[in-house]
């Protein structure tokens, strides 16, 4: 068959049908085809950058022996653009450091959990505050009065003596300054008034002292005597008046 083709071409030559184009011109045509088309479209004002990209796809794919139409080239270009966009977005997402999560950016479930936790913490704090106000008034109660000790009088009498001194101190120093130990713990006061009741014959000797809890140091000491049980209350008032200056 190659012989027939050669003979046919020789006949074309013989009858002067052939108008041969040099190889260099053939190559030139190949390289200038797209530029020529762009030049034409520009000269008639029908060219845009987007269409230039479509032409690039159209001619490039044809060189790769893929022969899409121009319409198909547009679809390929759109797909390529989308792919590039996705790749760029993904790369930026990978490269850019992620900002720390803030409560307002948390998912709804996390927000709900956080809100619940916050409310719980606030409630606990409020409860603790209330508890402190009830059980830990050390800030305001500077002086705590302990039940006095004694080998000669009963516990009720000792408590009564401590209560009497406390009441007088409350009256003198103010209700926020003095408290009975037992109502609050010793650790909740700065100073403690403690004492003892002794009996010598018919005379009761009431000894009281104020101790700085933190320094474990005696700040004040006094004693009063009472001949009768009725005088005990008067003695308590005197002790209270003397101790009042050491409440601060």
């Amino acid at each position: 068959m190659n012989g027939s083709i050669r003979s046919f071409e020789r006949i074309l030559e013989r009858f002067r049908f052939r108008e041969p184009v040099p190889d260099s011109v053939q190559a030139h045509i190949l390289t200038t085809k797209r530029r020529s088309l762009i030049g034409i479209l520009k000269s008639v004002d029908d060219y845009s950058i987007t269409y230039g990209l479509v032409l690039a796809v159209y001619f490039t794919t044809r060189r790769m022996r893929i022969r899409p139409t121009v319409a198909q080239s547009k679809i390929i270009l759109a797909a390529l653009a989308l792919t590039v966009l996705l790749v760029i977005t993904f790369t930026i997402w990978l490269v850019t450091p992620q900002p720390a999560s803030r409560p307002d950016t948390l998912p709804q479930a996390a927000v709900s959990v956080t809100a619940t936790a916050t409310a719980t913490i606030q409630q606990v704090q409020a409860d603790e505050k209330m508890l402190d106000e009830k059980t830990a008034p050390s800030v305001r109660y500077r002086l705590g009065v302990e039940t006095f000790t004694s080998d000669f009088v009963g516990v009720n009498e000792r408590k009564r003596i401590a209560d009497a001194i406390t009441n007088e101190l409350l009256r003198l120093a103010g209700p926020d300054r003095v408290v009975r130990i037992g109502v609050v713990g010793r650790k909740n006061v700065n100073r403690v008034l403690l004492g003892a009741v002794e009996r010598l014959g018919d005379t009761y000797i009431i000894t009281a002292k104020i101790v700085d809890v933190e320094k474990s140091r005696v700040l004040f000491s006094t004693s009063e005597s009472a001949g009768t049980e009725q005088e005990i209350d008067t003695a308590c008032e005197r002790i209270a008046r003397k101790a009042a200056g050491h409440v601060e």
């Binding site: 068959m1 034409i40 479209l41 029908d46």
Partner: protein, 172 residues
């Protein structure tokens, strides 16, 4: 121009540009001038594209005029017949008839599977394009070009046989 029409124009340009450029180049023998004339011809095609039925024939007609204009600008006294002298006139008697038969066979579209086949044939047979360059121009593989060209030539030779030219070598 509507987008669809512009797309069709682009495909038409891509298909016929090598043919038009080759045809012009054989007449003017200058790459830059051939390029300018091609631009001029295709701009005219763009302007009338909507009404053109057969772009190949229209382009050949337009390029004749453009080449004639090219020569006339150089020499106002140029005769178009001098530029496009009919070579068939140089043949006499039987040779002239044989040339006409071959020309008709080459133009008969029954041998071609569409306009692209005709372009492929013209590039190789008339303008002596290599299979490789033809393949690149048309976006085909070299094997495909070779196969299609062979099929077209076989078809033309069969047609020539039917017209009484049994042995093509007799014409040589």
């Amino acid at each position: 121009m509507p987008a669809k029409l512009r797309d069709r124009f682009t495909e038409t340009h891509s298909q016929y540009y090598p043919l038009v450029f080759s045809a012009v180049h054989t007449k003017v023998d200058n790459v830059d001038d051939a390029h300018d004339i091609c631009q001029e011809v295709f701009i005219k095609l763009y302007e009338k594209f909507d009404s053109v039925e057969n772009p190949r024939k229209w382009l050949y007609g337009a390029l004749r005029l453009a080449v004639f204009e090219y020569y006339r600008r150089r020499d106002p006294g140029t005769d178009i017949d001098d530029v496009f002298n009919d070579v068939s006139l140089t043949f006499v008697n039987g040779f002239r008839d044989a040339r006409i038969v071959i020309a008709e066979a080459m133009e008969d579209m029954v041998h071609f599977d569409g306009e692209e086949d005709k372009t492929l044939f013209d590039l190789i047979a008339v303008h002596n394009f290599s299979y490789s360059h033809t393949a690149k121009q048309l976006g085909l593989t070299k094997r495909m070009v070779e196969y299609r060209y062979r099929r077209i030539v076989e078809s033309i030779l069969d047609a020539l046989k039917k017209k009484g030219i049994g042995h093509i070598e007799d014409l040589l």
